[in-house]
């Protein structure tokens, strides 16, 4: 008698396993893209500041400063 019992044919993988394989591969791929591209969930606001403004320490107040509203304290 053979070691393997006579089965009813090759077993199929479930639709969930197939879908998960695709989604999971996407997650691994997304991680690789994030890790290699230097992507970050962006907290910073990006813009362009003219040179003339930047070179004036007293005159340059960032956009962020005026809108953050943080004043600290307990």
């Amino acid at each position: 008698m053979s070691e393997e019992p006579p089965g009813a044919g090759r077993r199929r993988s479930s639709w969930l396993a197939t879908t998960y394989a695709v989604v999971g591969a996407g997650i691994v791929g997304a991680y690789l893209w994030v890790a290699l591209s230097g992507w970050e969930y962006e907290r910073a606001a990006r813009g362009v500041m003219p040179q003339s403004v930047r070179s004036s320490p007293g005159g340059y107040r960032s956009f962020h400063f005026w809108h953050s509203g943080f004043h600290g304290g307990k």
Partner: protein
């Protein structure tokens, strides 16, 4: 070898002993068993006629095993005590040894007489399922552990050719069949009386190809008659008339069937080599059966076309609840018998398993390197029958059944009447099975079996989404490798950021606190610019602000400015840290460090502008700024792992509930199975 000829003591026909070492020769004309005696030859009585069989073997056919030639010189048909029987062929090898080639249901086992080893229990002590205390070994093969499969008594029914032993017509001898854990086969022949010597025959299953024997015909014809000999009786046509009502019955396995029911009058008929005799009539309401799968349906399973020839309805009673199940008997001459079993809409394909191939150990029951867990033991009773059967089935017949599961397989034992029978079932999806069945007169694929209810779980039903765990393992390993690779590639290049002198932040005319009487209590602030530094670009940036605060706060607003293009990444970092002792217990809140991660910026020359605010009064708290480029982000890896394992965790929860439902019906409802697929 010198042939000896004589006249049959019974009929006078010529009888020839071709070999010196044979004891008896069956007369080809009158079936008398002619034995060599001290003074000539004597008849031991007459055998019955050989029954027609579908054996592919024939007398005087030659073969070869291990380079040694042999010839099949004798043949006996032996009646099993519970009906049916098997055939034995006697192979005379060129080196003078004798082999016993037994044939049953298309399978062949070749065994040789071996000395009985010491330590063997007395024959009377053997019981089915017992493992022999001494391993047995055939020459040239490793020792095997043997299990008693059957203990019984059988009788010679018919014979032909020459025999290497004293065969007496009608002699009823005691035997025990043993099954080895490596596929070996053994028979203990205990003779007629307790005082008779015990003979042990040891061997293994063989194929005709191994023996170098070509089947005599594709359909399996009778043994080739000797010149002038009688042609064995051929079984009557497959179509026979019911002896009770005259209805036409079709016998699909006429050689081995012992019972058949009449579909017209529900009579149960005994079958004896195709001859029918009436036994009783089934009660149409309680004992007759209308099978879901029509008799004669072709089943394409195991690579062969098998035929549904009978159906049983059996049931087990557990805790006062009756659990019925149906068993469909399949027949194919080369394969023998198989079963399709239906229980609660769940279907299984069931094959016989040698008793020796099953090992019952403390940690479970093992077969084919799989561990099976006990599910249920119950007494099953035959309730209804329909069709043709190879044993003398009776309504009310009871056997003790034990089921062991390793999804999608179920190992079952049936213990009763001096025999333990093991079988292996594999769970089948009802749609898959339907596609393999073709009822007579219908097209393939047109048949549809009823399936189980979605809430029911069969004892050996596989959890359908177990593949998710395997995929998760593979993807998890891939993600881990990706994490290791990205961690090793992370440069984490520290950038030396040097700041110039801090200058007070300009007062904003629009700020009401700047001009109010509370200006003195307004937060103080200052601005610092770093000296330009180079960033390689294409990698994330980590900026860490560290300030030794004591129950205070520091608000940092920073700009990373590309000195060449004017591109600014503006971000803030509030730092606050408070601590103290309250009710004798120290406490702290916040942190002296804040880390900000920025996405990759283009390569170039950059300046960091840092503007800070702190509570009025004290001087500006010290602030250390550390900037690194190309930092490994463990958080990202953890998030990826979390996302990757979310589905397997949910599937695992579903599986837990699935297993709970499975085992709720078992003898061990507190168990939740672990082994699967």
């Amino acid at each position: 070898m010198s042939p000896v000829s004589t006249a049959c003591p019974s009929c006078g026909a010529p009888v020839e002993f071709r070999y010196d070492d044979t004891f008896v020769r069956v007369c080809s004309y009158c079936n008398a068993v002619v034995a060599r005696a001290d003074r000539g030859f004597a008849s031991l009585g007459r055998m019955g006629d050989l029954a027609q069989s579908e054996s592919p073997l024939a007398l005087w056919v030659g073969g070869q095993l291990g380079g040694v030639g042999f010839q099949l010189v004798g043949r006996a048909q032996i009646a099993h005590p519970r009906g049916g029987g098997w055939e034995e062929w006697y192979a005379r090898f060129d080196n003078g040894t004798w082999g016993w080639l037994s044939e049953a249901q298309g399978r062949f086992q070749l065994s040789f007489a071996v000395p009985l080893p010491g330590g063997m229990p007395p024959f009377e002590h053997l019981v089915p399922g017992q493992v022999l205390p001494v391993p047995l070994a055939l020459e040239g093969h490793p020792p095997e552990q043997f299990t008693v499969a059957e203990v019984g008594a059988a009788a010679y029914r018919a014979a032909a050719g020459e025999m290497p032993y004293r065969l007496e017509p009608g002699l009823r001898f005691r035997f025990a069949d043993l099954s080895g854990n490596r596929g070996g086969f053994a028979t203990i022949d205990a003779g007629v009386d307790p005082d008779d010597p015990i003979a042990l025959y040891l061997g293994r299953e063989v194929t005709l190809a191994e023996l170098g024997i070509a089947p005599t015909s594709s359909t399996g014809g009778p043994s080739a008659p000797e010149p002038g000999g009688r042609v064995p009786e051929k079984v009557a046509a497959h179509h026979v008339a019911c002896v009770q009502c005259g209805g036409s019955l079709e016998l699909r396995a006429p050689d081995s069937s012992l019972r058949v029911t009449c579909p017209y009058c529900s009579a149960v008929l005994d079958v004896n080599q195709g001859h029918l005799s009436y036994l009783r009539t089934l009660d149409k309401d309680t004992e007759a059966l209308v099978p879901v799968i029509q008799l004669g349906t072709a089943a394409e399973l195991e690579g062969r076309t098998q035929t549904v020839i009978g159906c049983l309805r059996r049931s087990v009673m557990v805790d006062g609840i009756n659990y019925p199940f149906s068993e469909y008997l399949l027949y194919q001459p080369e394969l023998g018998y198989r079963w399709l079993v239906e229980s609660g809409g769940h279907w299984s394909y069931v094959s016989p398993v040698a008793a020796g191939a099953v090992a019952q150990e403390l940690n479970g029951t093992w077969h084919a390197k799989r561990r099976f867990r006990h599910f249920q033991t119950a007494t099953a009773q035959v309730d209804r029958i329909f069709g043709e059967f190879y044993w003398r089935v009776e309504i009310g017949e009871k056997t003790v059944m034990a089921d062991y599961v390793c999804p999608p397989y179920m190992l079952s034992s049936e213990d009763g009447q001096g025999e333990i029978q093991w079988s292996l079932g594999v769970w089948m999806d009802s749609r898959d099975l339907s596609a393999k069945l073709t009822p007579p007169g219908q097209k393939a694929g047109s048949f549809e079996l009823p399936g189980p209810s979605t809430s029911s779980v069969a004892p050996h039903q596989p959890f359908g989404h177990g593949g998710v765990f395997k995929v998760a393992l593979v993807l998890g390993a891939l993600l881990l490798v990706a994490g290791i690779v990205t961690a090793s590639r992370a440069s984490s290049r520290s950038i030396d950021v040097r700041f110039g002198e801090a200058v007070p932040a300009p007062v904003d005319p629009a700020d009401p606190t700047a001009t109010s009487i509370d200006a003195a209590s307004a937060p103080a602030s200052s601005i610092r610019f770093s000296e330009p530094f180079e960033l390689h670009g294409g990698k994330n940036i980590e900026v860490q602000f560290d300030s030794a605060l004591a129950n205070s706060w520091l608000y940092v607003q920073a700009d990373l400015v590309n000195d060449d293009t004017g591109m600014v990444d503006s971000f803030d970092a509030p730092i606050e840290y408070y601590s103290g002792v309250e009710d004798g217990e120290s406490w702290s809140e916040g942190s002296e460090k804040v880390t900000v991660h920025l996405k990759a910026v283009p390569a170039g020359r950059y300046v960091l502008r840092v503007e800070t605010q702190w509570p009025p009064g004290p001087s500006a708290p010290p602030l250390t700024v550390t900037l690194r480029e190309g930092v490994f982000r463990a958080t990202h890896l953890l998030i990826a792992f979390g996302a990757l394992f979310l589905i397997p965790i949910l599937v695992g929860l579903r599986r837990f509930l699935f297993e709970r439902r499975r085992w709720a019906e078992s003898d061990h409802p507190w168990l939740v199975g672990q082994s699967d697929e």
